[in-house]
């Protein structure tokens, strides 16, 4: 098949990661370097120690070659993440405000630029893990509210959405199929409904299907 079933309607974590790598981060080049014409946004000319915004994939590529340092975003600090964690605990029915791609960006920077962090990376890592767990518990609680019409999940990031997506879509799809089956009865004037109705109208036999 041209596309595996698990990728229809859904993405792999690697693909969400790919989307996150398109996001811009700030780098401080160690050396000067000429720019390059690319298919998409041009790679700018880099001058040593002059901050520049480039996509995350490019930043990690240059970082691996020791050509630059990455300015770790403010939200990847112990202080910021602690505040978010406290919020998650304080408001049990709300997700705290984290970047749309917080998981993949955090992972990428911890994996390839841990020496650029101001706070100890292992502390950041464990805070991220705590945040992830508390949010996951909330998302799974939200599942109890599923219905056939809609649900709202404000504040979840894309990676988190993608994680619970197969489950939510399948349950909602089943719910709406059951619910839509009522419409067939209500909307269509088909002989089969007339016949089925008749069974029920007949009140003589108690084992004939009846509504309570």
């Amino acid at each position: 098949m041209s596309l595996p079933k698990s990728y229809q309607q859904n993405f792999s974590p690697q693909e969400i990661n790919f989307l996150a790598e398109q996001e811009l981060v700030t780098v401080i080049p160690r050396y000067s370097m000429n720019g390059a014409q690319l298919i998409g946004a041009k790679m700018p000319k880099l001058r040593a120690l002059n901050r520049e915004q480039i996509p995350l994939w490019l930043a990690t590529l240059l970082k691996k070659q020791e050509k630059c340092n990455i300015v770790v975003p403010e939200w990847l600090s112990v202080e910021y993440l602690r505040v978010r964690y406290d919020e998650e605990i304080k408001y049990p029915s709300k997700f705290s405000n984290l970047p749309w791609h917080w998981l993949p960006i955090a992972k990428k920077l911890l994996d390839y630029a841990s020496d650029d962090f101001i706070d100890p990376p292992h502390e950041i890592r464990s805070l991220l893990q705590d945040l992830r767990e508390v949010r996951l518990v909330k998302a799974r609680k939200g599942i109890r509210e599923l219905n056939h019409v809609y649900i709202q999940l404000d504040g979840l990031s894309l990676m988190e959405i993608n994680e619970i997506r197969p489950f939510i879509l399948e349950v909602m799809d089943q719910l709406r199929k059951m619910n839509d089956s009522l419409k067939v009865k209500a909307e269509e004037e088909m002989p089969r409904q007339a016949a089925a109705q008749m069974d029920r109208d007949e009140d003589s036999d108690d084992d004939i299907y009846q509504k309570e």
Binding site: S6, N10, S12, P13, Q14, N17, L103, K107, D111, Y112, L136, R140, I143, R144, L146, N147, H148, M159, N162, E163, I164, R165, P166, F167, E170, V171, Q174, L175, K177, M178, N179, S181, L182, V184, K185, A186, P191, R192, Q193, A194, A195, A196, M198, D199, R200, E202, D205, D207, I208, Y209, Q210, K211, E212
Partner: protein, 188 residues
């Protein structure tokens, strides 16, 4: 629903209890009596695809019509209430959806949908929808904590899933696992 949907074809072969409204010559083989007629009021279980068509097709008889003012269309058979939609069964769902064993019905939710297509029972759909959400939430928790799921009560719950729920469990587990693997993967 799609024509080539195997699950739908399998669901259609699940059986429903029916009662024949008229005597039909030569149909006895449905009841294990080849060569004999099937008699009026005989009860037997038929696969949904067959039961449905026989419950829908009306037999019009013009002479009946003339003789009887209160003529009503008859069909070959009437569908009876299956055990899995009986008040006892539905009460059990109401009281403890998680302990309900749907495994024997294979395609329970599809059968509910098919049944509701014919009878439009809003109460039934509401009740089963609620049961589905309860069971799915539990299943989702287990699909996340996979290491725990083959123990005691969990094992019982897992064995009570219908085929849709089993697939749901698999997909949900895969999604959690994929993310875990991605998150823990060391950079190369």
């Amino acid at each position: 629903m799609s024509y080539y949907d195997i699950d739908d074809i399998l669901a259609d072969s699940q059986k429903l209890p029916c009662k024949f409204s008229i005597t039909i010559p030569g149909l006895g083989y449905l009841n294990g009596e080849p060569g004999c007629p099937i008699k009026e009021n005989v009860r037997l279980e038929l696969p949904i695809w067959l039961a449905e068509i026989l419950a829908i097709c009306s037999i019009s008889n013009s002479s009946d019509y003339e003789e009887n003012d209160e003529y009503r269309e008859t069909t070959f058979l009437k569908l009876l209430e299956p055990e899995f939609f009986s008040p006892v069964f539905l009460n059990f769902i109401k009281s403890d959806a998680l302990r309900l064993n749907l495994n024997p019905y294979m395609f329970y939710y599809r059968i509910v949908t098919k049944w509701s297509n014919m009878f439009g029972d809003a109460e039934l759909v509401e009740l089963i929808s609620k049961a589905l959400v309860d069971r799915a939430s539990e299943l989702n928790d287990l699909s996340f904590k996979l290491n725990d799921h083959f123990r005691g009560g969990n094992l019982e719950f897992m064995n009570n899933l219908d085929s849709y729920e089993k697939q749901l469990f698999k997909n949900s587990h895969k999604s959690y696992k994929d993310l875990k693997i991605w998150w823990l993967k060391k950079p190369n």
